[in-house]
């Protein structure tokens, strides 16, 4: 059966507020239609017969929160997901970054890390890895543990290797990891410049200035107002002429900030315009 509608909108709203107050994780501005699907799904998988049961578990059993967060926040990811995006980074963005003495990249919502290892490989192949720092953050500490390890299922390597080649990869993909039974352990030289930390896009603030911010397939879970808030956070954290990369179905188009950014290719990559251009633009109003 589809959507066993165990949940009424008001009840869900109330529960999300309670969780925010009790635990400091605020999901009240996650996109309504899809969070309802997620919560419904938790009820089905964990065999709650009513919404009240789920609520009881969440309120009385703090250890259940982790499980709830994991289900709500969906952490599927891939290396070189959407190869054309990575190709645009390699061909159009990284060469521009070369002009900086130190390159700071923020990967927000990095999940289990497949994305940051992909970036490190590109940085290595464009000879930028020595001067680059990768800040990889996520709301969920347990995915960050995995990201730190850099050990991914060997069964995925065929797909990742294809993605890598389609993204303009120049080497033998298998040179980047050591296979060990069911797992591929990525090389330490890729990890040296990675910094992992929890960061909640809903409640945490800007923590540095970056030349490139990548946040893919995270904003899609947020409602319009929360998206606007997070775009502002990115704008505050991005240097002039810095780049912002989003997921393949995410866009700045419906945001106030759109006018200060310029989409650099058919990929979802925008470049922040120079200050003076922004002034001229806003003077026109």
């Amino acid at each position: 059966m589809i959507e066993p509608d165990l949940i009424r909108d008001e009840e869900l709203e109330k529960l999300l507020i309670e969780i925010a107050e009790l635990y400091g994780y605020d999901f009240t501005q996650y996109s309504k239609a899809s969070i309802k699907r997620r919560v419904n799904r938790i009820c089905v998988i964990d065999k709650f017969t009513s919404f009240a049961e789920l609520r009881y578990q969440l309120i009385k059993q703090p250890s259940y929160l982790q499980r709830f967060i994991e289900e709500i926040t969906v952490n599927v990811t891939e290396m070189f997901r959407d190869p054309s995006f990575y190709k645009a980074l390699r061909d159009d963005v990284f060469p521009q970054l070369d002009t900086y003495p130190i390159i700071r990249i923020w990967l927000a919502g990095c999940s289990t890390g497949e994305e940051v290892y992909s970036l490190a490989i590109i940085a290595k192949e464009t000879n930028l890895i020595q001067k680059t720092l990768f800040y990889a953050t996520d709301i969920n500490p347990s995915v960050l543990e995995k990201a730190r390890d850099g050990i991914f299922p060997i069964s995925q390597m065929k797909l990742y290797s294809e993605n890598y080649i389609n993204s303009g990869g120049l080497k033998n993909f298998s040179d980047y990891y050591t296979a060990n039974y069911d797992f591929a352990r990525f090389n330490d030289d890729l990890k040296q410049k990675m910094i992992f930390s929890t960061h909640n896009l809903v409640s945490d603030r800007s923590f540095n200035e970056f030349q490139l911010i990548i946040c893919r397939n995270v904003l899609i879970y947020f409602d319009k107002d929360l998206q606007a808030k997070v775009f502002k956070l990115f704008d505050d954290s991005l240097e002039h002429l810095g780049f912002l990369g989003l997921g393949s179905k995410e866009t700045l188009r419906f945001s106030q900030l759109d006018k200060h950014y310029h989409q650099i290719s058919t990929e979802k990559i925008w470049r922040k315009q120079k200050e003076d251009k922004r002034l001229i633009k806003s003077n026109n109003f």
Partner: protein
């Protein structure tokens, strides 16, 4: 804009769409959403193909895209398409449903929550049962359900399932679909 017309299809339904689209009125007063299970069409190919067949705008929407009248929205591959209260599109990358993403069931049931009795939902040719639950949800909210006449379908399983398992208001031949849609136009 309080009406929505939803079309769900799988194997054999592209042919029908290519017949229907050219006949659609150039100034529809409501949006159309198409959910296709597609195999082998690279992202932009299908949207270009459909665009070439109609003067209406066929869009593969981004997340948060607002619905506007006269546009045709094609669910992007690998995302479920949901609607929000403010009539914007939410794309959702969660589990497949009925082995499908996009799933017709999910879009139909999400849309009818917003558009209620002004929801029209049509099932075309196809080889699986996706859509049946969605049609039930549409009917439960007093929307209107339609199916392609199975005799005319390249693969009749999907419209047959629709007709036998849910209550269908209209069974249409491909040549009657555009006329039906155009008549919904409010002047």
């Amino acid at each position: 804009m309080d009406t929505i017309f939803l079309i769900g299809g799988s194997a054999g339904s592209l042919k029908v769409l290519l017949e229907v689209l050219p006949e659609l009125s150039a100034n529809l007063t409501f949006p159309i959403i198409i959910i296709l299970h597609r195999k082998g069409y690279v992202d932009s190919q299908l949207v270009n193909l459909l665009n070439a067949k109609t003067s209406l705008n066929v869009i593969e929407p981004d997340d948060k895209e607002p619905l506007s009248p006269g546009n045709i929205y094609l669910a992007p591959p690998d995302y479920h398409l949901l609607l929000e209260q403010d009539k914007t599109i939410s794309l959702d990358f969660s589990e497949k449903f009925n082995f499908s993403r996009p799933s017709i069931d999910i879009t139909f049931s999400s849309a009818v929550k917003i558009f209620k009795e002004n929801t029209f939902a049509l099932i075309l040719s196809g080889a699986n049962a996706d859509g049946v639950e969605g049609l039930k949800a549409v009917k439960a909210n007093n929307g209107t359900t339609l199916a392609q006449n199975p005799i005319t379908a390249e693969v009749n399983y999907m419209p047959l399932q629709a007709i036998t398992q849910s209550k269908i208001d209209f069974v249409l031949n491909p040549s009657e679909i555009a006329t039906f849609i155009n008549k919904l136009n409010v002047s």
